[in-house]
Symmetry: C2
């Protein structure tokens, strides 16, 4: 069996015909070295936004099935163009849509989840000596309608295809050369991480490190497909997302992330009795609004304050629900959009204590007030005033010496 | 059974979101009147050219399968947007691609011909009370690859769908309000024709009256689907393309058309012996170059001049073949790109004589030299110097009094 390479190129890597020709050159190099190649593409950068803009100029709430019909066209354009490049240079290639590859998803239009991939079709074309150029971001549901996987979904397509084809690795080419200890635009000492565990990457990805789609990391973890994130435009470097090993445990804190578009909702003087939290959060869940950190402090007077964070984009749509809850439980509420969430992530936290106290102490010394705290096995998240975000990131990056390799 | 309306809107009619919303309004009007509606759309005006441009910036000869994968995306965008408009206004709609409608074609990528349509899928959605928004221009071949029908192919999609669904008429909405006796940009007295036979329309369509795709008229003729060509932006008017009836025979000349991008090839002093013409034209056919008018004059000396016209776009690619032929039959050749073809079309010619002589006499009086002549039952075509084209059109429009209704 020939060795198989699975590569995914994001929107900026296929942003125009020149860049697509550059991708073709990279693939031809692999073919010359005798590799089988599957390449997964995103739409040209800006194209998905353009299509969303067209739909939103009609209505803010377009029909979701039709939205996916619209959005799936961006990847069809790039895969056709790359296949044209390869064929033109004498390298047989075939573009395949989500439907043609049998990428079966559920029917949650615009945020569908992959259930199954028919590896036979892809294998047939590989066996015939073709480069398979696959459309990322898309699949079909059981009734044959096109679905899309949500923003960044092409990463997930790539890892899922790599898993289905039993590839030894999935390479994700993007416009940055890897995952950093913090956003380099905020922290200038931020350092590229060579290796990181799936679990850590999941915490970083879901917390705002925009390098990889969270679902792609979940697929990597589930099927044990190592993911190598690299720059399309720069040789070398890269971050390998892989199974946790003992060397990783020595690194207590791997990286920081922050989410700025957050809001905090607080119910004040809630009667502390069973079922109150259920009342509140089931009403919100019914509106499909995701609640993140939840904090409840019980006072001695039988009254409690209950706070939680939501996406800032959901503030307008949650208000009527909050008003209803407020009436039903007889408690006032407030919304504060002037907050950020900052997180410290590291697999080594499991075996090291004192990380939280060190973190709180250093922030305190710098006069940064912590409004909320939540922790998991490998993560500590705090809510701070939005104006303190960048400073908090800098303090934490310094105190855990993340700039040092 | 509810009455069914089939409408097709061309690229300028869906050129932006505003125009698509205007189309939605027209369809909602029909729904309010209790009609079932199938609407076939082209890509936004300019979009197909943009996509072709992208491919041609890679190579002038892109892989044809991939070209169709690329080109089929334009219609997917417009059908999704129109379905979003309709759904948003409370009118259930569903966009369907060529694949979803089971529009089976041959495998001649970029110029495929429709073989079969699965009317069940469309009927199912009509029965469910939905407006069917169908992608024009596209189908799939037997192996499941996307195909496109060639420029203007959405007209053909529309008439084929109307035939498959046994609709009583197919309405083609475009940016002109019908078929004219001549191009109104050349002849200011040109008049809109109310009714015209399929056969006359075929002669006009294939000769350069760009209103309807020829294949769509062939489908109309074959399945007897009347085609009404109308303006999207103007009420009233229109031209009905339908079966010939006795009233049409009274009209001797229905219209004129001209093709300017033509070239004339002439072989001089060819030995007049059996098989010479076959040698010449089979070599050219092997190169997939279409030869139009052919004229051969036998001289008394056993030598003959043989002329024919081709598309001006084929001049460069035919030259090597002409050189080979020239060597093999030992005759010189010349190419003249400075010509046009002008045609007079009318079903009434069948029963009226003297049209050709009147035509030649009037052109002669105006000093316009006729280089070649060819005739069919309902058409007379001539080749003139390109500079004489517009004047020849004017002379013919006047002498057959086409401006009078």
């Amino acid at each position: 069996m020939k060795s198989l390479v699975v590569q995914k190129y994001g929107g900026t890597s296929v942003g125009d015909v020149q860049k697509i020709m550059h991708v073709a050159d990279k693939i031809i190099e692999l073919r010359k070295n005798g590799k089988d190649v599957i390449v997964i593409l995103s739409a040209m950068s800006g194209e998905t936004n353009r299509l969303v803009g067209l739909a939103h100029s009609i209505t803010p709430t377009p029909n979701q099935r039709e939205m996916d019909r619209l959005l799936c066209t961006g990847e069809m354009v790039t895969i056709a163009l790359l296949a044209i490049c390869l064929e033109n240079q004498g390298y047989p290639a075939i573009s395949l849509t989500g439907r043609q590859m049998g990428i079966l998803t559920d029917s949650s239009y615009t945020k569908a989840k992959i259930k199954e991939i028919n590896s036979d079709v892809i294998q047939k074309y590989l066996d015939a000596g073709k480069v398979v150029v696959a459309a990322g971001f898309q699949g079909i549901d059981e009734t044959g309608n096109v679905t899309t996987l949500g923003r960044g979904g092409s990463d997930t397509s790539a890892v899922a295809i790599a898993a289905a084809m039993k590839a030894s690795i999935c390479e994700i080419y993007t416009d940055v050369d890897g995952v950093y200890t913090a956003d380099p635009r905020i922290i200038k000492e931020a350092r590229r991480i060579d290796r990181i565990s799936y679990e850590e990457m999941l915490e970083l990805a879901s917390l705002g490190a925009k390098v990889l789609h969270s679902r792609s990391v979940e697929f990597g973890l589930k099927y044990n497909v190592p993911i190598l994130v690299k720059s399309t435009f720069k040789e070398g470097g890269g971050t390998l997302v892989t199974k946790e090993d003992s060397s990783m445990e020595d690194i207590v804190v791997s990286g920081l992330s922050c989410l700025k578009e957050q809001a905090k909702v607080k119910f004040i003087d809630v009667k502390d009795k069973p079922g109150i939290a259920a009342t509140i959060f089931s009403s919100i869940a019914d509106k499909n609004i995701v609640v993140d950190m939840i904090i409840q402090n019980v006072g001695s007077d039988g009254l409690t304050d209950l706070s939680f964070t939501i996406d800032a984009a959901d503030v307008d749509s949650i208000k009527p629900t909050l008003q209803e809850i407020s009436t039903s439980i007889d408690a006032e509420y407030s919304i504060d959009s002037n907050i950020s969430k900052v997180s410290v992530v590291g697999a080594g936290m499991r075996s090291h204590s004192g990380i939280a106290s060190k973190m709180f102490k250093e922030l305190g010394k710098s006069g940064i007030n912590i409004q909320m705290i939540s922790t998991s096995e490998i993560k500590i998240s705090i809510v701070v005033n939005k104006n303190d975000t960048d400073r908090a990131m800098q303090v934490l990056h310094d105190c855990f010496e993340l700039g040092k390799s």
